[in-house]
Symmetry: C2
Subunit: 227 residues, 2 copies
């Protein structure tokens, strides 16, 4: 059975990716990161999602990016508050320096160890926060680098990075996931979710998620804090 | 003062890089990894070297690659013995899947956090072990990816990856280091060094190092185990 490593944050996008990988017949190896993010609800969600989909293995990698001078992001640095959503085309303070590169690199190592030739990542360049490491040109460059970096690449059996949501809007992702039977109430996207998994409803991640459910015209199962 | 992140294993090459960065006037931020390697002597050497050169900060990042199904390498998996050196053009079992990519990615994140625009890495494609992630084409691809991955890259102030030893033989690296005043007795290169930092004298890393000292016609200060 062909194997795939799935980067699983516990949010809407990565969960959809896992459902898709499963549907495509992959033996699924989920990988999450405890990287010093301020909230732990998404990791708990990732564990629930991984269990729900019956992955072969779920690795939660401990890598404290926040230890590196705060991590340079509102998601990791206690001294930088997570802002409310604003429409903008700049890279917001929630950007975590090199995060997707770090996650993909470690997933690349695991894929090579497992002799898996596919990694799934749930990035999208449509309804997104202008993060540079979510763009198609970034992904293409990572793929080229990964092929040169690895024994498996040198041997002409490279690890392919699959980003099936790259060109999908949030509503299209939701429609895809619902067609695959995803229960989005299991997922947590909020940048400042409570320990119980309640979403703030106001950060960029909440806002994009809310708009996605509205645009897809389906009920939003997200549990929000009362405010 | 311009800042640089230096990947510092505690071995001969990375120590030469640190000396060079210091000479070039950089404020030096050293980064080492406790990645599940079997021996700890190189990390102790890295601490001594970092102290010796008076780095601004020395981060030792905990990231247990060995936790990922043994790490896929003789350097991490207790079930795979470190082999003695043999002349070969295949990629040996001491290759650690995606290691340089993982290290460079985390250094890239730290560089961006620090607003450093240079990373030094001591890879060489001359007297080396055929590791794919030590080749010039790999480095070029990593650079292209890193520029697209980061806010600083998007803003046209990318982080440059410097590999000053890339085209140097081990003897040339030693000659360079000695001209910079490096005390190589501080460094540990052996793949299976004892806790006291004694080198085995027979692994690929020891062999390349020994040959380097011989070719440079300088005294080898390495402390070997009696055998």
């Amino acid at each position: 059975m062909k194997k795939a490593v799935i980067l699983l944050s516990g949010g809407l996008d990565s969960t959809t990716c896992l459902a898709l990988a499963k549907k495509q017949g992959f033996a699924c190896y989920a990988m999450s990161f405890s990287y010093g993010q301020k909230q732990c609800a998404e990791l708990l969600a990732a564990q629930n999602v991984a269990r729900h989909f019956g992955v072969v293995k779920h690795e939660i990698v401990d890598l404290n990016i926040a230890q590196l001078d705060g991590g340079g992001s509102a998601l990791t640095d206690p001294q930088i508050a997570v802002p409310e959503y604003v429409e903008t085309d700049i890279i917001p303070i929630t950007y975590v320096p090199a995060r997707n590169t770090i996650f993909l690199s470690i997933a690349l190592g695991w894929a090579e160890i497992l002799q898996a030739h596919t990694i799934f990542i749930g990035i999208s360049a449509v309804d997104y926060s202008n993060y540079p490491d979510c763009r198609p040109e970034y992904l293409e460059a990572f793929q080229a680098m990964a092929t040169l970096a690895t024994k498996t690449g040198v041997e002409a059996k490279p690890v392919h990075i699959e980003a099936p949501l790259l060109h999908l809007s949030k509503a299209e992702t939701l429609t895809l996931g619902l067609s695959l039977g995803v229960d989005y109430s299991l997922t947590v996207s909020c940048y400042k979710a409570s320990d119980e998994g309640l979403a703030c409803g106001h950060c960029a991640s909440c806002e994009l998620r809310k708009r996605g459910f509205a645009a897809a015209a389906v009920a939003d199962p997200t549990r929000y804090v009362l405010s």
